[in-house]
């Protein structure tokens, strides 16, 4: 259980409106990801759902019950913080058991639940250590353990992986996804890493300056971005966006083409340019192309490799059915 409904929720810090009134529904069992640039209000929104931040206006309902005035601990939510926020003076065992101890649960039951949680998170060997004696990944696991023992109706994650190194991040990403598949509990996950967003989410909520730009499944956002911001934000490398006569030819104010939807040729094509930096990743090559007269720089992505050097002439041809068109307000034209 854990259907979360935000109704005209807004937040001001003093005179600054960080989040203008917004509506959002997160279905029971859904994995929702909030993405957006730094400072767009992702954490603030999450903290408002958790109850750590008061609402300026609006209401939040969990499972149909208005919880706007309910204190954080009574909302049945568990949160995992970016800095882990473990209790440094307690052992891992005590850390994980702390929420249960606060519920005045019997010691035997606490031990049992801590045991189960630590087994599923591979923490059994570390139960008697203090957080200071653990690696970043292990600390993260303890933080997750502390969240799952409570059997919450929803999990809230605020950039839980951003302090981990790249390899560990991939591993933990999978673990959290598996955890979601197993427990089928609602999860709200904040990140600015769009790979995390694309790979984990059932539903992505793209935010900019506190405004929801688009809500949809990862592929929805990829194939049908509702506006220029989402088009530029989702996808890596970024979509090439430009306006001008070339866009007018397609009857749009702005058009966009993804790097991977552009064919490259050294002899002929629709647009001509000069090769800048080429990033060889082995499986893929990203080529930055200048002097096209369309935009400062276009990026294309080709599978495998191509024999071009810095300064070479190069021709591009966009795949016609993959061109995204936007009007003067930046909204998508079908």
């Amino acid at each position: 259980m854990g259907r979360i409904v935000l109704d005209q929720v807004s937040k001001c810090f003093g005179d600054v409106e960080v989040i203008p009134p917004l509506d959002l529904t997160i279905e029971d069992g859904e994995f929702a990801v909030f993405v957006g640039p730094s400072g767009c209000g992702k954490s603030t929104l999450l903290r408002m759902i958790a109850g750590l931040e008061d609402l300026t206006s609006g209401a939040i309902a969990i499972d149909g019950e208005d919880v706007t005035e309910v204190p954080p601990s009574k909302r049945g939510l568990a949160m995992v913080f970016q800095s882990y926020a473990l209790y440094p003076h307690m052992t891992v065992r005590k850390n994980i058991g702390f929420p249960l101890r606060m519920e005045k649960m019997g010691q035997a039951e606490i031990d049992k639940r801590v045991e189960t949680a630590s087994q599923s998170l591979n923490l059994t060997d570390y139960l008697d250590r203090k957080p200071g004696q653990l690696s970043g990944g292990q600390r993260q696991r303890v933080a997750i353990g502390r969240a799952i023992v409570r059997d919450p109706s929803a999990f809230l994650f605020d950039e839980p992986l951003s302090n981990l190194d790249a390899a560990l991040r991939v591993g933990m990403r999978l673990e959290i996804s598996e955890m979601h598949a197993r427990m089928k509990t609602t999860m709200i996950y904040v990140t600015h890493d769009q790979v995390e967003a694309m790979t984990m989410a059932d539903k992505i909520v793209v935010l900019q300056a506190g405004v929801i730009e688009q809500v949809g499944s990862p592929l929805d956002l990829y194939h049908k971005p509702q506006n220029v911001f989402v088009a530029g934000f989702i996808g890596s490398p970024k979509m090439n966006l430009f306006s001008g006569p070339e866009a007018a030819k397609h009857g749009a104010h702005t058009i966009g083409i993804r790097p991977e939807h552009t064919d490259v040729n050294t002899t002929d094509g629709m647009w001509e340019g000069r090769v800048g930096v080429a990033e060889h990743l082995g499986s893929d090559t990203f080529i930055h192309i200048h002097d096209t007269g369309l935009a400062d720089m276009l990026t294309v992505r080709i599978t495998g490799d191509i024999a071009v050097k810095h300064g070479d002439k190069i021709f591009l041809t966009p795949q016609a059915d993959q061109i995204h068109k936007f009007d003067a307000q930046g909204l998508r034209i079908e």
Partner: protein, 312 residues
């Protein structure tokens, strides 16, 4: 290890100076405690110069142990130090937690809170014993006579009067008396040293992790649980520091004891040393050695206790 030589060499003067600073007085105290050494003795003029020929063995120690004030001095030392520690740490934590919240006039309040620490101990003692605790002229005397006046007035009241006539006249307490002078010392030193504790605890509280608190709130911890399970362990080390430093300072209290009652019924070890040192340097030195031993026991005991209870 040739690369270690230079640093060692450069450290040497400081280490040497420290050793001399500590070892020479300690050595002299030890030496004097084993010989007969008095400032004035007509029958044995040879005792007035320290020399190994006046060897007395453990005689001085025996003399001190058998003197009627020794046990009282040890008891009093411990009583005074432990009471002050308990009071300053408790009050210090309470005040630090209280003023850690943001409120208007915070800066002024903090400065005022720290100010007792800048008063000289002797001045502190004179102020307290004469202006506050004096049974006639001090605040205490005025307050007690004020209450008595009010009760007197109420005795005339129509119905309640009969109830108030059952009340006794309040007597002001003399803090120079044998039984109460230690209490007076504890009060004045607590007043002076609580700011020190507040200062240290306050800086420590400001470094407390707010996200841990938020996590605890979500975990269902109330204000008391947050204090007990997060703040108090976080303060463990600063508490140990405050206890250590204060134990060292208060085991050697002297000015307050002298001013309150001239040691009347309220001696501690340093005061006893002072009394012996009027003439009997040997006995004073032996008492000094006892004081060193006591200080070490107290330090070890206190550190253990603080470490155990707070840091689990």
């Amino acid at each position: 290890m040739p690369d270690r030589k230079l640093p060692r060499l450069l450290q040497a003067p400081a280490v040497l100076l420290l050793l001399v600073w500590m070892l020479v007085p300690l050595g002299m105290t030890l030496y004097f405690s084993f010989i007969r050494y008095v400032l004035n003795n007509l029958r044995h003029p040879e005792w007035t110069t320290p020399s190994p020929s006046n060897w007395r063995g453990f005689g001085n120690y025996q003399f001190v142990l058998n003197s009627k004030d020794f046990l009282l001095a040890i008891q009093n030392s411990l009583f005074i130090v432990c009471s002050i520690l308990f009071l300053t740490v408790t009050l210090g934590i309470l005040i630090a937690v209280l003023i850690n919240k943001a409120f208007p006039g915070q800066g002024i309040v903090r400065v005022l809170l720290i100010s007792p620490f800048f008063v000289m101990p002797a001045v502190n003692a004179v102020l307290w014993i004469n202006m506050i605790l004096d049974p006639v002229l001090g605040l205490q005397g005025i307050a007690v006579s004020g209450i008595n006046d009010v009760v007197d007035g109420l005795r005339q009241a129509p119905v309640l009067g009969s109830f108030f006539s059952l009340w006794p006249e309040f007597e002001p307490i003399s803090f120079r008396a044998t039984q109460t002078s230690a209490i007076a010392v504890i009060m004045m030193v607590t007043w002076q040293w609580t700011p020190f504790a507040v200062l240290i605890f306050m800086t420590s509280l400001q470094s407390e992790d707010q996200q841990q608190k938020e996590a605890a709130v979500l975990d269902g911890a109330g204000t008391w649980s947050q204090f007990r399970f997060l703040t108090l362990p976080h303060l463990g080390r600063p508490i140990a520091i405050v206890v250590m430093i204060q134990a060292i300072f208060h085991l050697s209290l002297y000015a307050e004891i002298e001013i309150v009652s001239r040691g009347n019924g309220n001696k501690n070890l340093p005061y006893l040393i002072g009394e012996f040192a009027n003439n009997n340097i040997g006995a004073a030195s032996a008492t000094g050695i006892f004081a060193v031993i006591l200080a070490n026991i107290v330090a070890i005991f206190l550190l253990r206790a603080v470490g155990k209870t707070l840091m689990e």
